[in-house]
Every structure is written in structure tokens, then in C-alpha cells.
């Protein structure tokens, strides 16, 4: 029988892998995918807590996270497309226009 600790440990590992992608990669699209990985890891622990406590509120919160992630992807990809159009590249290290 799988216990909550296993699910939570797996979710923590997925989150760490996503954080590694954000810290180590330069390509803005891959950084974005890593953010999705992290959001999914957190959703997995919300659903685990929902079953652990026997209530459905965790699943509702995970649903809201999913909706906000969809909105975030739409706006973020629009920004990345514009970056490509004006700056010819998706490396996050080259984007310093907002630096004061």
C-alpha cells in the first residue's frame, strides 16, 4: 500500500527537477516548461493532501492552479513570441532591456 509520504516525496523530487530547469537552462521556452513541471508537482501534493484528509478542497485548489497555469502560459508565450520577433533569440540571459 502506497502511503502519503511516497507521493509527497515524489512531488518534491519533481519540483526539484523543475527548479533545476529554471536555474540551469537559458532557453526561455524550456524555462517555461520547467515552471509547468513545478506547478504540476505542487498540484500532485494538493491532491495527495486531499485524499489524506478525506476532503475535496485540495482537489478544488489544484483545479484553480490548473486554470491560472493555463492563463499564465497564454500570456507568457505571447511575450516570448514578441521577444523573438524583436530580439531574434529566446535566451533569458540576453534580455536586459529592463535593467535600470
Amino acid at each position: 500500500m502506497i502511503q502519503p509520504a511516497q507521493y509527497l516525496a515524489l512531488s518534491a523530487m519533481l519540483f526539484a527537477v523543475g527548479a533545476a530547469g529554471v536555474l540551469l537552462r537559458r532557453n526561455a521556452l524550456v524555462v517555461f516548461m520547467s515552471i509547468e513541471l513545478m506547478l504540476n508537482a505542487v498540484n500532485l501534493s494538493f491532491v495527495t493532501f486531499s485524499k489524506m484528509h478525506g476532503g475535496l478542497d485540495g482537489q478544488v485548489i489544484a483545479f484553480f492552479v490548473m486554470v491560472v497555469a493555463a492563463a499564465e502560459v497564454v500570456v507568457g508565450l505571447a511575450i516570448i513570441v514578441q521577444l523573438f520577433r524583436f530580439a531574434r533569440g529566446a535566451s533569458v540571459d540576453d534580455r536586459r532591456s529592463l535593467r535600470g
Partner: protein, 178 residues
């Protein structure tokens, strides 16, 4: 029964997440992310979250990944990343901090929830998971739900405003005025 599903899918989820991070090709990253999202959907089924499992496959693996692949193909990002570090020792420090983060969270969660067992959702899911989630959503979370619809509208409009091509006529007029 449950562990026969859990461990293979856990290996699949972790390895596909690693592929997302390490592969140099953005298209391969996107495909590995699809595999990861599907395996998380399998965990949702194991955790009696049937509605979320269906929503995960439709929203993430369906809509969001199509959007990602569309942008990857549109921009043609299959060139190599340059390996020059703009912050000294960024890779080593990032790797070490991620190892620390993962190790600490796994250790803390395992020790904190060592003896905890599932209360189970049999009672909450008695009339079906979709009905139960819908009842919880519309009884306890009606106001956040309505605000979420406004958020989606704002996101759609803002993506159109950000993504539109500015007509070059405006630019030349501004240039002439400047």
C-alpha cells in the same frame, strides 16, 4: 495492486522530467513534458481525483502542450544554447542548490508524514468524484470561480494585445515626430 502502478509510473514521471531539463532540443523537451503530464494524470486516478485526471489530460496534455509545440515550431528554436555563463559558477551553484532543495524537502516530508495514512475519499466521493468536486466548487468556492473566469478573459485579451504585430505606419509617424 496500487504499488504495481505507482512505482513504474513514478519512474516514468521522474525520468521524463529529467529529459525535459537536460535535452538540448526544445521539441524533445515538449514531448517529454507530455509524458510527464500523463503520468501525473495516472497519479490523480490513483488518488481518486478522477475529474482532475481528465482535466489534466485535456487542459495540459491537450491544450497547453499544443500551444507550446506550436510556438516551438513557429520560432524554430532548435539551435544550440551557448554555454557561456553570465554569472560565475552559475551551473555548479544552481546544481548544488537544487540538490539541497530536493534533499531537504524529501527528507522533511518523509519524516513529517512517516506514520500518516490516507483517510480515503470513499465518503466524499460517494456520489461520484465529478459531482462531489462540482458541489464543493460551487458551494464553497463560487466567488473565486467567478473571478477565475474574469482572469481567463483578461489573459485572452492581453495575449491578443501583446502578440499583435504593430503596424509599421505608426512607427514611421512617431519617428517623424521625434
Amino acid at each position: 495492486m496500487e504499488q504495481w502502478v505507482f512505482w513504474p509510473v513514478a519512474v516514468l514521471a521522474l525520468s521524463s522530467a529529467l529529459v525535459v531539463v537536460v535535452t538540448p532540443n526544445a521539441v524533445h523537451s515538449a514531448l517529454a513534458l507530455v509524458a510527464n503530464l500523463f503520468s501525473v494524470a495516472v497519479f490523480y486516478v490513483l488518488l481518486d481525483a478522477h475529474f482532475l485526471a481528465a482535466a489534466q489530460v485535456m487542459v495540459y496534455a491537450g491544450a497547453i502542450m499544443v500551444l507550446f509545440l506550436f510556438v516551438v515550431m513557429l520560432l524554430g528554436v532548435d539551435r544550440q544554447e551557448d554555454l557561456k555563463e553570465s554569472i560565475p559558477a552559475q551551473r555548479v551553484l544552481g546544481f548544488l542548490s537544487v540538490i539541497g532543495l530536493g534533499g531537504l524537502t524529501v527528507f522533511t516530508l518523509r519524516s513529517a508524514f512517516d506514520q500518516v495514512t490516507f483517510a480515503g475519499l470513499e465518503q466524499a466521493n460517494a456520489g461520484g468524484n465529478v459531482e462531489a468536486v462540482g458541489r464543493t466548487l460551487f458551494e464553497g468556492y463560487l466567488w473565486p470561480f467567478e473571478i477565475t473566469s474574469i482572469l481567463l478573459l483578461i489573459a485572452a485579451i492581453s495575449a491578443m494585445v501583446i502578440g499583435r504585430r504593430r503596424p509599421s505606419r505608426e512607427l514611421t509617424e512617431e519617428d517623424a515626430a521625434a
